[in-house]
């Protein structure tokens, strides 16, 4: 509550010099952190040997070293993604489109699903004009994939901050759309939010908000694309556990999960 002697116009936080708004200070700091991350890592990296991962952990760390060994027996290499809170969407988007460069049949199917998605979003009440903007950009990239552009060009698209973020936004909208369409089911899994719509407004639609199982289930179900996530955490034995989304589907995208972050794996 306000102190009896506080002046009008002041926010509650007195620790900051006058004229500096608390929220603005937080936002400025977040921008600085994002900038630092951006300077040290690409949105989507080059292929790297999985052996490089083992250098990130102590040699005596038997759990992680064991898991990396297990991972190397199953996968050839990996691409890092930038840890900016959008990594799941970006990793999924790039990895799946990269795969579609060599899978015409699935591309046809995906193009149809993606084309229809715009009307679904508009019918849910998203502003038609912005949805259209993101949808058009998304479809342009899908068409480039149809023309079988070289992987380097697809990589360049995903490394272009603005364009890449446009694709992330559209995937976030699809995730939100699927959650809202299946509200009756998902309402059982959201804690601390009154409705699925509110959850989406806080945890799905804003940029940089991280993804959890519920996001992955929604996006993979919405596009009917199987994703296998290999979990590398402290849990369990010296083998990596995996989980397929949606359950029981054949995975087309392989992601490596380390607490708070997703990278792309290659067989």
């Amino acid at each position: 509550m306000a102190e009896a002697n506080s002046k009008p116009g002041e926010s509650l936080d007195k620790a900051l010099p006058s004229g500096v708004e608390y929220d603005e200070a937080i936002m400025a700091q977040q921008d600085r952190i994002q900038q630092e991350i951006a300077e040290t890592s690409q949105l989507i990296g080059d292929h790297e040997d999985l052996l490089l991962l083992s250098k990130e952990y102590s040699e005596e760390d038997n759990v992680y070293q064991g898991k990396i060994k297990d991972l190397r027996s199953k996968y050839k290499c990996f691409r890092r993604t930038r840890g900016d809170g959008n990594c799941f969407y970006r990793a999924f988007g790039f990895s799946y489109l990269e795969r579609l460069l060599d899978d015409r049949k699935d591309l046809e199917r995906f193009k149809e699903v993606a084309a229809k998605s715009k009307d679904m979003l508009v019918s849910l009440g998203f502003p038609a004009f912005t949805v259209e903007d993101f949808h058009d950009t998304f479809m342009e990239v899908v068409e480039k994939v149809e023309q079988q552009i070289p992987v380097e060009d697809l990589l360049a698209t995903f490394r272009d901050q603005g364009l890449s973020d446009y694709l992330v936004v559209y995937l976030r909208l699809l995730t939100s759309g699927y959650l809202q369409q299946n509200e009756d089911f998902f309402v059982n899994f959201i804690e601390s939010y009154a409705s699925v719509k509110e959850f989406c407004g806080h945890e799905v639609e804003p940029m940089a908000r991280e993804s959890d199982h519920i996001h992955i289930i929604a996006l993979t179900s919405s596009l009917d694309v199987g994703v296998r996530v290999e979990y590398m955490d402290r849990a369990g034995s010296e083998e990596v556990n995996h989980h397929d989304f949606p359950e029981g589907t054949e995975p087309k995208v392989f992601l490596l999960y380390r607490p708070g972050h997703y990278d792309i794996l290659y067989k």
């Binding site: 004229g19 912005t130 936004v169």
Partner: protein, 201 residues
Amino acid sequence: MANIAVARIKREFREVVKSEEAAKCNIRVELIDDNFTELRGEIAGPPETPYEGGKFLLEIKIPETYPFNPPKVKFMTKIWHPNISSVTGAICLDILKDQWAAAMTLRTVLLSLQALLSAAEPDDPQDAVVAKQYKENRHLWEKTARHWAQEYAEAPKSKKDDEFYDKVSQLAEMGFDRHKALTALSAHEWNMERATQDLIS
């Protein structure tokens, strides 16, 4: 400024201009410079609120990372509202901060601000003094907010509002700055003595 941001703002600008709300003169946007980095917004005070009949000008700055980050918006017209600083015009509204999504537009922002004028959120205040008054003496808050709208936002006046004018004028005649006098009176429940003390201290 990044091409994406410019292209978006150009389209949005047209969207607001030809929108239904704009036709009814409830919301407006204007360009300030040719680079589309700064705009001037205007919203009408919603009916059945102390802001009714007032026109509120907004400063809108478009960041280079728009639409992935929200526009920076503040009130240029002075206003007495729990979620808006009566000094700086800074706004406390979730979609201008961490709940902004790239699918939102300037139109969304202007309509949300209009909604904020209709329904304040005193538990998430930007201006602690106004929020306290809003919670503890709603009637006085309403009268004060209406007075500010008349003074700064061209809201229509009526006879019954004369009392506050007289008090401000009295302090102004004593040599105090009119706006400072109004602020002091607003913060001290329109008590002349306490407002004067505040102005002297």
